[in-house]
């Protein structure tokens, strides 16, 4: 086994021809798992087998590790990943690092986050830009509480594609039943979080099986894709199908005759002639031109950095949002959000912070309502949020704020909170809706009880709409007789 894997690496062809232009955007992914699961080895293996590590870097590695190698004669991958001196000295991983590798089909940006303490803060940071999460488990130990936590955080941050890498499968003697058992358990978990796109892969990162190269020789029973094949086919999340949004970054006035509004399209599409509204002022205009360096364009879509020219004089400044007239975001002074507390001081109730969303920065006061217990998945009432807590909060603004829900638009629904004293970024947040004093169907003792067949209830909770509100609902499985009793009791 050892010999053949080494040979594969050595034989990786140097004759690879010029790459065709890539037909898709880079896929951003996050890897979740701990050192014990073999995360560094997996990422190291990805970089090594896609030739993202060069000989001199490997030589430096060999030198730094004083020749320490894993049992395949490859360098110690963990040293490749831990870039900072403190990390190498203490053998720990600090903070989020970004890794780059590519195949003929696509490029990948990996947010590599440490698995130990403070993982919530680092995971949230890495997950904020990720399209997909790779969750790593050790085939011998299977799904752990940690896996559940990672999956929960990834879902909250808007990730809807999971890959389960069942690593160290070689150490189970390539046990198919074990793999099936773990992947089944994971699918249930993911489904309960509302994630439907799940791929489970038996992997040996150390031996390089089913990472970049297939592991058919050892696992003829596995006919699915390798990790890299799965990543090549994953979809990049896009805000193109929603209403047009242009958060204005700056106003360009190179001369008296030209006035353009510069920004990155955060949703939908735009073309000359479209009617738009400037928020928060509410003034209406039509799009006259889309200017870019190369040429005057006849359309722009979400993700494009553009300069927009309107057909009439309107007052637009940085922080305003230009939006389509028939599909507008929410405006108001009170919003509900979920936030992740990122700093030791946590979130203090009623304290006024700066909130930045897109190019708009406003004063806001934050009132925590509840905190997520990552162990049980339940929301418990809370008045303040400590570091690494995930909480539901109410936001109160001095002036009009403009948002979409995070579920609808990952750009115009996201924000950070900045401490006005330290200027540090103390929270990342996701808008769930306009604030309602009723607080949803959950307020006080009020509740709505629905009795449904179990499979229908599961399906319903897994839909897009309910996945974001699943914490407002309590799902209890019971038999028909007990349900009848329960409902009968309510009638009185």
């Amino acid at each position: 086994m050892t010999a053949s894997a080494t040979a594969t690496v050595a034989a990786f062809p140097a004759v690879e021809t010029e790459r065709a232009s890539r037909d898709s955007r880079p896929l951003r992914l996050i890897t979740c798992g701990s050192v014990d699961d073999g995360k560094s080895t997996l990422i190291g293996r990805l970089l090594w087998d896609t030739k993202a590590v060069k000989e001199d870097q490997a030589a430096t590695l060999q030198r730094d590790s004083s020749g320490k190698q894993n049992d395949l004669g490859l360098p110690d991958f963990a040293l490749l990943l831990d870039g900072l001196q403190a990390e190498r000295e203490q053998g720990i991983t600090i903070d989020v690092a970004y890794r780059y590798f590519s195949t003929d089909r696509r490029s990948f940006i990996v947010a590599d986050t440490p698995g130990h303490e403070q993982y919530t803060r680092n995971m949230a940071t890495g997950a904020s830009t990720a399209d997909l999460a790779v969750l790593l488990v050790d085939a011998r130990t299977g799904i752990l509480e940690q896996t559940r936590r990672h999956a929960t955080i990834a879902t909250l941050m808007g990730i809807r594609q999971f890959v389960l890498a069942v690593n160290k499968i070689d150490l189970t003697g390539y046990d198919r039943a074990r793999f099936d058992e773990i992947s089944h358990e994971f699918k249930e978990l993911a489904l309960s979080l509302g994630v439907k796109q799940i791929t489970a892969i038996p992997v040996s990162a150390l031996k390089g099986e089913n990472v970049v190269y297939d592991g058919r020789a050892s696992m003829p029973w596995y006919e699915g894709p390798t990790l890299v094949e799965t990543l090549e086919k994953a979809t990049v999340r896009s805000n193109q199908t929603v209403g047009f949004r242009l958060p204005v970054q700056r106003v360009s006035r190179p001369g008296e005759s030209f006035r353009g509004y510069q920004g990155t399209v955060a949703g939908g599409a735009v073309k000359p002639g479209d009617s738009v509204v400037v928020l928060p002022s509410g003034m209406v205009a039509n799009v006259k031109q889309i200017v870019t360096f190369d040429l005057v364009r006849n359309a722009a879509v979400a993700g494009d950095a553009i300069t927009l020219v309107l057909d009439r004089q309107v007052d637009v400044s940085r922080g305003d949002m230009i939006v389509s007239i028939d599909s507008q975001p929410m405006t108001g002074r009170k919003f509900d959000a979920q936030i992740v507390a990122l700093q030791p001081e946590g979130i203090e109730p009623g304290k006024r912070y700066w909130l930045k969303s897109g190019s708009r920065r406003q004063r806001v006061s934050v009132t925590p309502a509840s905190q997520l217990d990552l162990k049980s998945g339940k929301w418990n009432a809370a008045e303040a949020l400590p570091m690494n807590a995930i909480g539901k909060v109410a936001l109160t603004f001095d002036e009009q704020a403009i948002f979409d829900t995070y579920e609808q638009n990952r750009t115009t629904g996201a924000f950070i909170l900045i401490d006005p004293d330290t200027h540090n970024t103390i929270a990342g947040g996701m808008i769930t809706g306009r604030h309602s004093e009723l607080g949803g169907i959950h307020k006080g003792d009020e509740r709505v009880i629905l009795s449904l067949p179990a499979d229908l209830a599961d399906k319903l909770m897994a839909t897009e709409i309910f996945s974001s509100r699943r914490h407002d609902a309590e799902v209890r499985h019971t038999n028909a007789g007990r349900a009848a009793e329960l409902l009968a009791g309510l009638d009185e």
């Binding site: 780059y100 490029s107 990155t264 930045k356 750009t411």
Partner: protein, 317 residues
């Protein structure tokens, strides 16, 4: 020669070129977004311009970001006096062609004390002529934001650096205490005296840079292309032997060969590679089969372990 005509020709060529592939387009959009955000949020931005390929891409993106306006900040070139002659000629031509404001700074102490890479060793030389010089120039200009062309794929400590990388008033970087950076929402709030280094090319790789140069037809210093050039071999590196200040040591002899450079810095510290790549196509295919990283030819990265991180903490880019 008419600069306007040059520009017009370049623009019409641009209009007829095929659209960027989605990968490069996404990287370009992200970089433009960062340029605009920094220009809008900071009072005195500046762009570090080192004349190399990454700087050339950075400058091109800046011009795109602010079109049809001018680039709204100056370029800062921290010169050491030991750059390749072709780099300086190229720099002056670009500044003229694109109507840019250029500030050149050379550390006066280094010049007065005659600090050279030959007399002071690469570590001390770099510290004085680059790191200290950069701090001097940033202080003198009271800049609160400085764009740089660093990429996270270049070196291990850079992989952990934010796009907005916060610096203390004495320009230090504290890798253990960086601000979290979520989505594309950047925190530009600082106190007076503090600053931010902004890296629009963070997510680009070396191949991306070359493919973008090709797709956008961006001018670069000719030293990147293979040509028959004189060189000497020293410390395992091929050093260009054109500058009269290069003194041959016993046993060294000038040779000539087809060589090019993957990165450009100070000529005595930058090693050439043997190459027959005379076009961008050649360079890209050479790169895709390359087995060593681009900074392999840079002496300053290797003069001690954890070298780049140490320099960065002290204010180097």
């Amino acid at each position: 020669m008419s600069d306007n005509r040059n520009e017009a020709e370049a623009r019409s060529a641009a209009a007829s070129k095929p659209p960027l592939d989605p990968h490069l387009k996404a990287l370009e959009n992200e970089a433009i977004h960062i340029f605009r955000e920094v220009a809008a949020e900071f009072e005195r931005p500046v762009m570090l311009y080192s004349i190399g390929k990454d700087s050339s891409v950075l400058l091109h993106l800046a011009r795109k970001a602010f079109h049809p306006g001018r680039v709204p900040f100056p370029l800062l070139h921290v010169n050491t006096g030991w750059k390749f002659a072709e780099m300086i000629a190229f720099r002056d031509e670009i500044v003229k062609r694109y109507d840019l404001d250029l500030i050149e700074h050379i550390n006066p102490r280094g010049a007065a004390e005659n600090v050279t890479p030959f007399t002071h060793g690469s570590a001390r030389y770099t510290d004085i002529m680059k790191t200290e010089a950069l701090r001097q120039a940033l202080d003198a200009g009271k800049y609160d934001a400085a764009f740089g062309g660093a990429r996270r794929d270049e070196e291990a400590s850079r992989a952990k650096e934010r796009i907005y990388s916060f610096r203390t008033p004495d320009h230090r970087w504290d890798p253990r205490n960086q601000r979290p950076e979520l989505w594309n929402v950047y925190n530009g709030m600082i106190n007076r005296g503090e600053s931010v280094r902004a890296f629009p090319l963070s997510n680009w790789t070396e191949v991306d840079i070359w493919r973008y140069i090709q797709a956008e037809n961006i001018p670069i210093v000719p030293l990147y292309f293979a040509e028959k050039r004189p060189y000497i071999e020293r410390d395992g590196m091929m050093i260009l032997a054109e500058d009269p200040r290069l003194e041959l040591l016993p046993g060294e002899a000038k040779q000539e060969g087809l060589i090019r450079f993957r990165t450009l810095g100070c000529f005595p510290l930058t090693g050439a590679i043997r190459s027959t790549a005379t076009t961008l196509d050649d360079i890209i295919s050479e790169l895709e089969t390359a087995t060593v990283s681009e900074r392999q030819g840079r002496a300053i990265d290797r003069d001690q372990s954890g070298s780049m991180e140490k320099k960065k903490r002290e204010g180097y880019f």
